[in-house]
Assembly symmetry: D2
Homo-oligomer: 195 residues x 4
């Protein structure tokens, strides 16, 4: 059985603008593909995801379609830029919408990883928040479940404008891919027992 991954790309920039977040998310999906995981990606800001904490907020809400893709995938890649040292509002919107899944129980046995980029400082706090929120709704986090890049303090360079991914980032992307695929394989074959 093939494992599948969905990347939710939480850049503030609508398509077709270039996005560092999109880039690192695609690199994580490529890494997962080496381990047999079929991936796809949604740039969330291109869709009208309504504020709220229900599964479907009605009135043209685009979340139900995205939600179904989350529910159908074995692995979630939550990719976000860093603004003011925080995850993007779009990422917070996604986490809020996933809140409804606590009572649904739809996410048990799924694996989540994070990918964070920014001109400067913020990634550790962002992966902390992302891990906690995704774990609360039922995702498991594999060892070393985040890849991040940010420049030096008060830097202005974007990840997408680097000549190439720094070696430490490229190696971490490989680790994230192999670990997420391994854990998703284990949990897919043997899910958590009911408490």
């Amino acid at each position: 059985m093939t494992l599948t991954a969905l990347a939710l790309v939480c850049t503030l920039k609508p398509s077709p603008q270039e996005s560092s977040t999109e880039l690192i998310a695609s690199q994580v999906l490529e890494s997962l593909a080496k381990h047999g995981v079929t991936g796809s990606s949604v740039r969330v800001v291109d869709h009208d995801v309504k504020p709220g904490v229900d599964k479907d907020m009605g009135d043209g809400d685009a979340w139900p379609g995205i939600r179904q893709q989350v529910v159908d995938a074995d692995i979630l890649v939550l990719a976000t830029p860093t603004w003011m040292g925080h995850a993007a509002s779009v990422a917070h919107r996604v986490l809020e919408r996933l809140d409804a899944e606590i009572t649904e129980g739809t996410l048990a046995g799924k694996v989540a990883v994070a990918a964070v980029v920014g001109n400067e400082d913020g990634a550790h706090a962002i992966s902390a928040e992302v891990f906690q929120a995704l774990n609360d709704v039922g995702f498991s986090i594999p060892a070393n479940g985040v890849v991040y890049w940010n420049g030096e303090a008060m830097g202005k360079v974007d990840y997408k404008d680097l000549p190439k991914s720094p070696d430490s980032v490229a190696e971490t992307i490989e680790t994230v891919g192999i670990n997420a695929a391994h854990l998703a394989g284990l949990l897919s074959a043997s899910g958590y027992p009911k408490a």
Copy 2:
């Protein structure tokens, strides 16, 4: 000279739904009014604030109008609910939009306070994030610059459904009001020198 305050209410619920966040924001404005501060309030989710980090994202962006009210006020009250232990996506959207003011320098000498409500745990982390982001863009934070209420762990009660504000919350609202008004008065009369 009269001081003014603007409350940005970051509930996920559009008007006219009842909102705990709106309630606590209005209580902070009432407290400020006792110290001569004229207040007004915007429920941000009722407006189409676009994602992005420029002053004006164009295309019907409602931020420029709200931004002008922030720039015109002496005191900002940032009021947010707690979801997943985090500030609402609407609050993060506001902070992102304020990012542009670092280079504008429009917020120097202004004072900010936070108001946070939630069924359960999250307020300290939210006030931390809010203080840091608002301070980065130029706001000063008066002593005890936050009022918050949340129920016991895994609680489900809303602030608006309490029979009345707990005494500790009511007292804190008075402190936040007097301290914010005092600091705004000082900084209004004697702003920061240029570095």
Copy 3:
């Protein structure tokens, strides 16, 4: 093969003082025991764990002995009280000392969960920080990998002084135990491949 768990109890109170953190840690170990996991516990503040980020800081450093117990166990239960909305300094000391294990690679395949208590607000942010730090050094986090209790905003009641654990807390302890045991069993039988 029997799985083992170690609880690092990060209360600020030396033995034999009563500790809410010790209590909730012992409840998590009892839950794990129902699933065949043998547990033990260390109250860290009783030992002279030196500041630093090396495996052994010398000069009577008690960390090497505790570290060996972490390395020998399949599951780590990091239990901490909440002070100022943050994890205790003792918990931060433990995380700092575990930093050395990134290069050692000793923690791959191990599972970590958190237990957090406090008079009031802070648990979500603490589990976020704990998850991120423990995940960075190699631990995997099972679904719903935290149990927490805190009272209402500005509350003063201790967990140990409740007549009994609230149902929601007791149920979460069962979930944490079953999920941690299950994940540790899977990873013990089939560890992460080398990247």
Copy 4:
């Protein structure tokens, strides 16, 4: 009347080891001195500050002596390194000990700023936590109340080993000094009214 500042240097390294945290704290004190503020500094790890949340934990506790210096100063500079993306355990110990001052009310009218260094990412989250905790106990935070430096993601360079402070850091140190001195002057002349 001369204003005074106290820097609490929360490096993990005892004297006489070189410390990036000590360096940036001394630079903030120099900046304050240009605006007439007399400064002094304590390297906290050199002293036996006991765990706990009382003013004096007895048994050789070094906190009462440090506490008196905090109470005597107009400005607190909380300087901490970054470990695992978090403030050092020594900084958390200081914040815990300041918790007792909420009921003492000794810190009203005082000003606090933060200084954060690290090889890599963490400064925004650390200043957030530091602002929130210090504000909770009574400190006011001047505009742009933090200076920080960290290298690129997964970097290994120390601030003290840079050929010189980057311009953006040096400019921020000037801003922090002028703003903290200005706000402390205002609050020293006209403290918060009683609520």
